[in-house]
């Protein structure tokens, strides 16, 4: 009887431990082009990354090395009248919407305001905003630092974006200022430099 129960428990444990495999996080191999954010935006990482199954919003996705709170890269492909990511509360904390008539200087403000609302923070500052060619168009690169609400961890971020055919393509990298940002920002910049817009959507993500 005891053996029967034990084997039953083993089966249950095996079933439960199999859950994470179904969850859909995936390894992004080095040196392979991959379409991101359900769009024609493709990147070719030079090292392996983890893609999280949880998306920040409809047309976006998150990659990370050690966990998205430690070194997270977000890819966005946003059409007009859409927010950058999913709202915490549509009713009480609606996020600002992207508009295709925005200037390049409005993109850093869009990200800043979205972060301030979603993270409930007042400590967010832009440290640099500069022009940069991106995806064959005029783009903007900006750096910022912020803290989450009532949290002591100081975080840095860097992002590159451009508006192409009325759509905002944006990549951002957030990491704690201690250790992680300086250690990993170079791998983010490598991903940015590999970014292309394909003319046709690549094979849809499984």
């Amino acid at each position: 009887m005891a053996i029967r129960i034990a084997s039953f428990l083993v089966i249950i444990c095996a079933a439960l431990s199999a859950q994470p495999l179904i969850a859909g996080n995936a390894l992004m191999p080095a040196g392979t082009s991959v379409a991101v954010a359900k769009s024609t935006l493709t990147v070719t990482p030079e090292r392996e990354w983890n893609r999280l199954s949880a998306r920040p919003g409809r047309n976006s996705e998150t990659w990370t090395l050690d966990g998205d709170d430690l070194n997270g890269v977000n890819f966005y492909s946003i059409e007009t009248a859409r927010a950058l990511f999913r709202e915490v509360s549509k009713r009480t904390k609606p996020l600002p919407r992207f508009s295709s008539t925005m200037l390049l200087t409005d993109i850093p403000a869009l990200l800043e305001n979205s972060y301030r609302i979603a993270l409930g923070t007042t400590l967010f500052s832009m440290t640099n905003i500069e022009p940069v060619p991106f995806l064959g168009a005029k783009g903007v690169r900006f750096s910022y630092s912020f803290r989450k609400q009532m949290e002591d961890v100081s975080r840095n971020g860097e992002a590159v974006g451009a508006i192409v055919n009325g759509r905002l393509y944006l990549m951002s990298f957030d990491a704690p200022a201690i250790l992680y940002f300086d250690r990993d920002v170079a791998t983010f910049r490598q991903i940015v430099s590999s970014a292309r817009l394909e003319s046709l959507p690549m094979a849809a993500r499984r």
Binding site: L95, T101, M102, T105, E130, M150
Partner: protein, 386 residues
């Protein structure tokens, strides 16, 4: 069970605030006495937790480090509740863009920057500070902790009582929230007593709640939502409705002699921080509420920082008509203060988004001249084609 009920009922029955000692205080001394030590297990435990929270809060980057403003707010508190009482309180000004203040049982008082932005006079600030202090003096955290413990005991026991169980559970849980509302009302009424003895107008308290209702309505309208109802108390509400508070506070203070509001000294003390707090508010994506707030801050006279804030609000929304309005507001702000660099930047970007490249370039050049070291300077150089 019966003992638990009888423990829960007496505080609920307190209809009016009386002296501090009557509020089931474990000691005769009020908690603001110099070097007061918490009495009994419950109070000692609460103070230990509050001390830990205060240590964390003190070191937080969210605390506004401005000794002058700190001293000013402390002075208002002392005039509001009296010199003997205010010494038991440490005030922390915290950078959070919402209307709130709270008071821990050990005398830690938090005031959020969103509250400082919305209060318009020393008298209104004194009313808020007095309200928070009343919670402290009446030991509401302690009474609330004990009431919650009794009520949740009741709820747990009631689960064994078959068909009557759910009704008793619901009553017990409802009593927690009703108890909270009762405490808020007690604090409102005691703070009115302070106000009557203070040099400040006692009518100010009701003005705050009236304006908060106006702002909430404007926010809802701006977001195309239905506005809240103010005459109905939700089961889970921890506070009386704002309408309820505005009504009983204005009724009770109606006969009190009219005293100064001290609005000018308040705006002078806050002047340095006003642009910062306005900037936090502008980034909350709340067009209707912010427009209402700016209009109520401006009253008859729109100052340059308020005009600039209004311009930024319209430029952010960015409809073609908003860009036209924003450009006008920027120009008015610059008329009052031609060296306001951020207004030149806003005007330039506003005109460029409205496809007026030449005029936009002129405005941006003014910004670049005034702020050659700005973080976005290379981006703006590129936009004007240099």
């Amino acid at each position: 069970m019966r003992r638990a009920l009888s423990r829960a009922i007496p505080p609920l029955a307190l209809a009016l605030p009386v002296a501090a000692s009557a509020a089931s205080a474990p000691a005769d001394l009020p908690p603001y006495t110099q070097a007061y030590q918490p009495q009994g297990t419950d109070e000692r435990g609460l103070w230990m937790l509050a001390d830990e929270d205060e240590r964390n809060l003190r070191d937080s980057k969210f605390v506004i480090n401005d000794p002058a403003l700190q001293a000013y707010v402390g002075g208002v508190l002392c005039r509001a509740v009296g010199e003997d009482r205010c010494r038991g309180v440490r005030i922390y000004l915290v950078r959070v863009a919402s209307f709130n203040a709270n008071m821990a049982p050990n005398g830690t008082m938090q005031l959020w920057s969103g509250l400082l932005l919305r209060v318009r006079s020393e008298a209104e600030l004194a009313a808020v500070l007095g309200h928070e202090f009343a919670h402290f003096e009446l030991r509401h955290s302690l009474a609330g902790f004990r009431q919650r413990r009794s009520a949740t005991d009741i709820a747990a026991w009631a689960s064994f009582l078959g068909q009557y169980g759910p009704a008793i559970q619901q009553t017990a849980i409802g009593s927690i929230f009703q108890f909270n509302r009762e405490q808020e009302k007690q604090a409102d009424l005691l703070s009115l007593k302070y106000a009557i003895q203070s040099p400040y107008s006692a009518q100010a308290a009701s003005h705050i709640w009236q304006r908060l209702m106006g702002e909430a309505d404007a926010t809802a309208l701006g977001r195309k939502q239905r506005s809240q109802r103010y005459d109905r108390v939700a089961f889970f509400a921890t506070h009386p409705t704002n309408l309820d508070r505005a009504t009983y506070l204005s009724t009770l203070s109606a006969d009190v002699a009219v005293k100064p509001e001290a609005a000018e000294s308040y705006s002078t003390a806050l002047a340095k921080w006003l642009p910062e707090f306005l900037s936090d508010q502008l980034k909350l994506n709340d067009f209707g509420g912010t427009e209402y707030l700016l209009a109520s801050l401006a009253g008859e006279h729109w100052t340059a920082p308020l005009l600039f804030a209004r311009a930024e609000l319209y430029r952010q929304r960015g409809n073609p008509r908003d860009l036209v309005a924003a450009a006008d507001f920027y120009r008015s702000a610059l008329g009052a203060d031609p060296d306001m660099a951020d207004a030149w930047r806003g005007l330039g970007l506003c005109l460029m988004r409205d496809r007026q490249q030449v005029e936009g370039t002129v405005a941006l050049k003014n910004y670049i001249r005034l702020r050659p070291q700005a973080a976005d300077i290379s981006m703006l150089h590129a936009m004007i084609g240099e």
